[in-house]
């Protein structure tokens, strides 16, 4: 246990070093600055995927509507800053709070549902949220979107360049990962994994199953709302199609492809899916029109051959290698 703890935090530190590399590479001309913007989107997707990983992979609840919270976060920030001149960062907090409150109100009745029913209910939430963004013209400006969302500031420095945004957003993403790790390595995290394993047994051990499901749903919504708010501040423009069902499904893809076993699956999934979105067309060269098909094929291959996801697949291989090298893993019955 201790070693695992040490390892998760160790990985986090290692990740910090890895993330320090791109700016250096850009500085020395070994890497194009364009990639920094892709890394920014990776940071945003990582924040949402980490929350969804807690919800789906560790607590065993599904959500096909998380784009709703991403959208709620983005629209909260956009409306507060553009229409009401709300101070920067206050709107980010407000976006997180509102996402959490709505998750609480929606989650209280729906999380009592299980399996497919929960999937459909959360999908309904996503659809309703999209309709509200699209149709509530007086507040959201409807399908034409909100322009002129200000960039974030730290003290008096406006986050104008991609490099500044990169540092800021990845710092926040690392904090989100840290929060998730801390939750998982605590009484709360054990309760979540317990109710995933067996709701009855968890309840028999005193875990308030409904309350914990609601808690993790709210946490994941808060992460998504945070990412949405930061997305709005980075793009400076938002409109409803960014927050539709398609994005919800992409989020679920991220955590499935990444792997359910650890929180790092979320990071791997976010990095992989974002890269594929950005680079697949380029990589295919003359066949770039077929990128959507290749994208689908890659998903299928991952699911068929590595159902545990990439992170899971790697740890399975690792385990096998390790078993080969003498340490007995399982006790014979």
């Amino acid at each position: 246990m201790k070693s695992l703890l040490k390892n998760d935090y160790g990985i986090l530190v290692a990740l910090m070093f890895v993330l320090a590399a791109p700016p250096i590479l850009v500085k020395f001309g070994a890497m194009n600055s364009y990639y920094i913007s892709i890394l920014i989107f990776m940071a945003l997707n990582t924040m949402i995927a980490v929350g969804l990983n807690l919800l789906v992979c560790h607590a065993g609840q599904i959500s096909l509507g998380h784009a709703a919270f991403y959208g709620i976060g983005a629209y909260t920030s956009a409306i507060l800053t553009v229409v009401y001149g709300c101070p920067l960062w206050v709107d980010v907090i407000a976006a997180m709070v509102l996402s959490g409150v709505i998750a609480y109100l929606v989650g209280a009745p729906t999380l009592k549902l299980k399996g497919h029913y929960l999937a459909v209910a959360t999908m309904g939430l996503g659809i309703i949220a999209f309709i509200v963004m699209n149709e509530w013209h007086s507040v959201t400006e409807g399908p034409s979107g909100i322009v002129g969302i200000p960039r974030l500031k730290i003290f008096e420095t406006v986050m104008r360049t991609d490099m500044q945004v990169y540092y800021l957003y990845w710092a926040i993403a690392l904090i989100v990962i840290l929060v998730a790790i801390n939750i998982l390595n605590s009484r709360v995290g054990r309760a979540l994994r317990a109710l995933h394993g067996s709701e009855t047994a968890a309840a028999a051990m005193g875990v308030n199953v409904n309350s914990y499901k609601l808690k993790v749903f709210v946490i994941s919504a808060v992460f998504a709302g945070l990412a949405g708010s930061l997305y709005a501040h980075y793009m400076t423009f938002i409109s409803p199609p960014s927050f539709g069902l398609q994005f919800s499904i992409m989020l679920v893809l991220m955590i499935i492809v990444g792997g359910a076993e650890t929180i790092w699956g979320a990071l791997i999934g976010a990095v992989l899916i974002t890269s594929m979105r950005a680079f697949l067309g380029e990589a295919l060269g003359a066949y770039k029109d077929y990128d959507v098909i290749v994208y689908g094929l890659v998903m299928m291959v991952v699911m068929i051959f590595i159902p545990a996801g990439l992170a899971g697949g790697v740890s399975i291989i690792a385990r096998k290698l390790k078993r080969g090298s003498a340490q007995p893993e399982e006790i014979g019955a």
Binding site: N32, M235, F237, T262, I268, S315
Partner: protein
């Protein structure tokens, strides 16, 4: 859980590897800061080739590639070829942003044409301005050029032009009480906003406001209310298939007041969808769909006929006005590059001084205050007769 130790470690290694992989394509590209005379002019294009905007983005890309080939075949611009780098934004704003960053920072383009849709255009407008790269957008929202973004131009005819053209037509017919029915998508809502602002100025009263959803298959409730409102004509603002449903429903309800559609359905698909009911429907459209009916004195006629011929030859289908946007965007840009070379600010300044440029959408007179440069005269009124577009007398 000891069993996880190594696995977690490897997972991280993998994530690091993926990051590295993602960044591996990076070495070597330094953008196009140095210019050599033999190098081609790099022009970026962002079109919605797939996804929700595909019907718009595809003809735009086809046209842009067609015109690139024509220009290059004729020796290029100032002896240099055009290299057109097309990115597909899938109608998605995030993807459009990634595409814009790639074109500007990695490929080092001197100008961007597109995007096809308003959302992606607005999403990248601030960025292209900060990066100081001129962009000629093909999307129609008024928000793209109002307020003016110094680096962003627009070739599409806007809803404002269209509403003005319709209002002029209506008043010339002695009609001043109308009903307005809009699609609840971005296009319809924008048309409604323009109508709200412009109708009073032209002395037209909107006596009924109605709306429909893109999936609605029956509009009789809206039309029944319109019937009761005493409107003398109906103006519909939407994209297929909703406007065709209204057209058919009006026939079923035996409503005889004039029906005016918007330029959003100035395509054969609309006539196909509404069948006989569309006879006599009037709408504003660019000159492309009635090119051969234009008088020879019309300055656009030759260009439109040439473009139609070339496009039909290459792609075996007639062009539509979306392709026309692609034509105007690349030709305006090429024209500016001819004068300004590869200097982005100079291209911007040249674009801003464009006068009398004859395109498919109309004659462009761009000023620092007006980055669209078209006027309502770029529209002509057409009527459906025998399932074809018929140009109305000006």
């Amino acid at each position: 859980m000891k069993r996880n130790r190594f696995g977690v470690f490897c997972s991280t290694a993998l994530s690091v590897a993926i990051l590295a992989l993602a960044l591996s394509g990076c070495s070597g590209d330094k953008g196009a800061k140095k210019e050599e005379s033999a190098e081609p002019y790099k022009i970026g294009a962002i079109f919605s080739v797939t996804g929700r905007g595909a019907p718009i983005g595809q003809p735009e890309r086809e046209t842009a590639e067609l015109m690139r080939d024509q220009i290059n075949a004729a020796g290029g611009i100032n002896g240099r070829m055009i290299e057109l780098i097309v990115e597909d934004d899938e109608g998605d704003e995030t993807k459009a942003m990634m595409a814009a960053k790639k074109l500007i920072e990695k490929d080092g383009v001197i100008a961007i044409i597109g995007p096809s849709l308003s959302g992606p255009t607005l999403a990248i407008s601030q960025y292209v301005a900060e990066a100081q790269v001129p962009m000629v957008a093909c999307a129609a929202s008024v928000k793209i050029v109002d307020p003016v973004n110094p680096w962003v131009f627009q070739v599409a005819l806007t809803d404002r032009h269209s509403v003005n053209k319709i209002l002029t037509y209506l008043t010339s017919q002695g009609i001043n009480k109308i009903a307005f029915i809009n699609d609840s998508n971005a296009y319809g809502v924008s048309g409604k906003a323009e109508m709200t602002a412009l109708a009073p100025k032209k002395g037209v009263e909107v006596v009924a406001w109605e709306a429909f959803g893109g999936e609605d298959t029956d509009m009789t409730p809206q039309l029944t209310r319109v019937k009761a409102s005493g409107a003398e004509a109906i103006v519909v603002w939407g994209t297929n298939p909703g406007p065709a449903v209204i057209t058919r429903n009006m026939k079923q309800l035996k409503m005889t007041i004039p029906l005016v559609q918007s330029h959003g359905v100035a395509n054969m698909k609309y006539i196909e969808l509404s069948g006989d009911s569309s006879e006599g429907v009037v709408l504003p459209a660019g000159r492309l769909i009635v090119a051969n009916q234009l008088p020879d004195s019309d300055p656009q006629k030759q260009i439109l006929l040439d473009y139609t011929k070339a496009f039909t030859e290459k792609y075996n289908k007639p062009p539509d006005h979306y392709g026309g946007h692609g034509y105007d965007a690349i030709m305006l840009t090429a024209k500016a590059v001819e004068k300004a070379g590869a200097d982005r600010s100079l291209i911007r300044e040249t674009l801003e001084k464009t006068t009398g440029f004859i395109g498919t959408d109309g004659i462009f007179n761009i000023t620092p205050e007006d980055h669209n440069g078209l006027s309502e005269d770029s529209f002509v009124m057409v009527r459906v007769e025998n399932g074809q577009w018929k140009l109305l007398d000006q």
